[in-house]
Subunit: 138 residues, 4 copies
């Protein structure tokens, strides 16, 4: 499990006075970016090598609202990785309120020049890094 | 079925050159707002009456990317409504590319003063409007 | 003068209950995009030709807040265009409240392959289109 | 001078491959929030006391683009504070590229229950805190 910690910004609230639900999707991306930094293969480097990992699907289960200035820990786990598909589970823990506030998951594939690739063959170094990194994290 | 049509803005794209996946969540909200306008009970009026309909959960299945300036039709259907819970299905049809690009769903409850309510009892007028409106739309 | 009309979305509000001030910057971009469509040389076509017109500077004078669901007319005028620099003035008229709510301006240059160009020489067709279009609009 | 450090997120980029210019406005707000935390009178507490400090005007001078994952230091100085009006200057220093990338300023007033107030009379504690805090920062 990897934890990415984040404070809720004012500009992320809506007129209900809570963080707008669309922002959670951005936080999930930020957590993935931080994880890649952590395993030593940055998203920026992937980008420069022409590999993209677009979101194929996601789901979010909003349990409790987050307010401006609350500190939220996103606990990120790799649920599945096989070179072709990557799946994450997310638990949002609001440490200002001491409660799990949201659960989510996302599924990603890998593209090179717009076409699906298996990282095992196409980018063994990144693949190894993923296997190692996610092992360490799980 | 109710259709909300929307052009993709430049500020909605990301460095992959496509609409960032978090924006779809905003488009879904815009479509719901437009549906409420259509059935004659605006979200603004709900708001003024102290009724909120927060998102309880959502899922999105991204099939094909949307590019800047593409025109997308969001086809919105009420899957379930019983006074307590409201569920929508969404089909995103990219009319610039003549393809279904995304499918999604969302689930909502109703709150008054922060507590769950059954609209059937709490707001019969809005309930009737929903029953009528969603009948018409289904 | 060219007018772009826009309704304020729920996801654009903040916990003060009004449209967050950062969104005005996005609306200004949307208005410019609509103007380009109107003069017959879309931003998308510019993009495909490798010409970008980044924002060099902007200023915004917020006079009156905009609320969810308010309809706002952005009145856009070209203040200056000489092939190298393009300047716009914006007046935001809140037609739901019958008041001018904001004034703004923005300044743009033109880049090809990341380097400043004079459209007069580099893209005479676009230049002519601009001269015509902005004449028509002023 | 107070410094707020921030990494550019993927979701903040646009199809030009750089951080979209509207996000700078959000970063400026984040820097002000961090400054308030630092001087010991959080925006959240102001909020709870019913005091808002809306943006009256702002201007931004974009010099050099910021790319995904760049680390940017926002250097924030109070230019003016007199109980009624608060003005900030911002320098964005891209430490990944070792260059000043943007300069900006913003002007704010103070509202209680929607009406302008002079903090000197209306909230002497907050006023003192501001005088102290901004002295310390200038």
């Amino acid at each position: 499990m990897f934890t990415y910690t984040r404070r809720a910004h004012y500009h992320e609230t809506d007129k209900m006075g809570i963080v707008h639900h669309s922002n959670y999707i951005k936080w999930m991306e930020e957590a993935r970016t931080a994880l890649m930094d952590h395993i030593g293969f940055t998203l920026r480097r992937m980008d420069e090598l022409g590999v993209a990992s677009p979101v194929v699907s996601l789901s979010v289960d909003y349990k409790r609202p987050v307010e401006f200035s609350d500190v939220v820990e996103l606990r990120l786990s790799v649920k599945k990785y096989n070179g072709v598909v990557l799946e994450f589970d997310y638990e949002f823990f609001n440490s200002s309120k001491n409660e799990v506030c949201t659960k989510a998951s996302s599924k990603h594939c890998f593209l090179m020049d717009g076409r699906p690739v298996n990282l095992r063959q196409a980018m063994p170094e990144l693949h190894a890094c993923f296997i190692e990194g996610t092992k360490e994290e799980s």
